[in-house]
Symmetry: C2
Subunit: 186 residues, 2 copies
């Protein structure tokens, strides 16, 4: 950011008094502008044994498969955000249920949070503005090499593993950029 | 926000193409400014049976007791943010452990996330810039009428209840403003 969103004058980057991080501070009105991580809320929609995936129609990772998810909006709860994204991207009305994963991705300042969502039937949109294709996959057919994001692969993999033991757990983890592309905390 | 943070010209509020929400859009360069909920990350620090609370030295709710918590910063994980806040507010180095609570507070566009943190000893700061007093409380002595925020009361209450059964659970819930001040989802 280059300009103050309150008065339109230029900002400078400095550490405000009683703070310990550099912030954009307005050179005229003194407004301190904070930037914070954003939440991606999504669902893992299931119909029986099958899992719903969406093929991305937008960048980044256009053409790859993902779980329906997106930026949480102001004024909504996590579950409302996850259900809204599922409706927008897949044309499916669901209730966000159990928490499955909460994954910090610090190098892009995001936290990805996925909930299990039981579909009441196999119906879904054929496509939406954000998804070129929407499909229910049997576990054996999941296109692992074409999954859009590591948070999605991890959430899918952990869910399917938990299904074999019969106990669906939640997992809190991190994805770090280097030296390994997927580092789990703890 | 009144001005574009990229070019300093005035913004107007309108729904961008392919969107369904009003955003601040620059009248000159067209930049769309998104606002998203912020995460408050914190710990419930315990030493044996005792729980660490901080008396707030800053508004809002100055003088009331809280768990150490604050806005998650860019570039950190949830657990790093929770541990950082615990060090800053209470002078205690901890590792953020089990997830205890994840509470959406949509009317203020926040999500509060608390982790259990085992202290390695009873030492803590006497005070910090953000806390006028820091104290370990036996469960029976917790000042319930002087707790700063409902997300803190709920996290404490649920933790103490789980302690009696021996199984510490995580809970995903919401706090809504009206008609009741605390509405749990599901």
């Amino acid at each position: 950011m280059k300009y103050c969103d309150q008065c339109g004058h230029s900002v400078e980057y400095k550490i405000p008094e009683l703070d310990n991080r550099e912030r954009a501070v307005c050179t005229r009105c003194g407004t301190i502008h904070y930037r914070n991580p954003r939440i991606i809320a999504g669902c893992l929609p299931v119909f029986g044994e099958q899992i719903l995936l969406c093929r991305r129609n937008i960048e980044p990772r256009k053409g790859f498969w993902t779980l329906p998810a997106g930026f949480m909006e102001e004024g909504e709860t996590l579950q409302q955000g996850a259900a809204r994204e599922t409706l927008e991207e897949a044309g499916v009305e669901v209730q966000a249920g159990k928490l499955l994963s909460m994954i910090s991705v610090p190098h892009i300042s995001q936290v990805h949070i996925f909930f299990l969502a039981e579909m009441t039937g196999p119906q879904h949109a054929g496509s939406t503005s954000e998804s070129s294709e929407i499909r229910l996959f049997a576990p054996a057919d999941i296109p692992w090499d074409e999954i859009a994001f590591p948070t999605v692969s991890r959430t899918l993999r952990d869910y399917l593993q938990d299904k074999t033991t019969g106990t669906i757990e939640h997992r809190v983890s991190n994805i770090l950029p280097r030296p390994r592309s997927e580092g789990t905390s703890e």
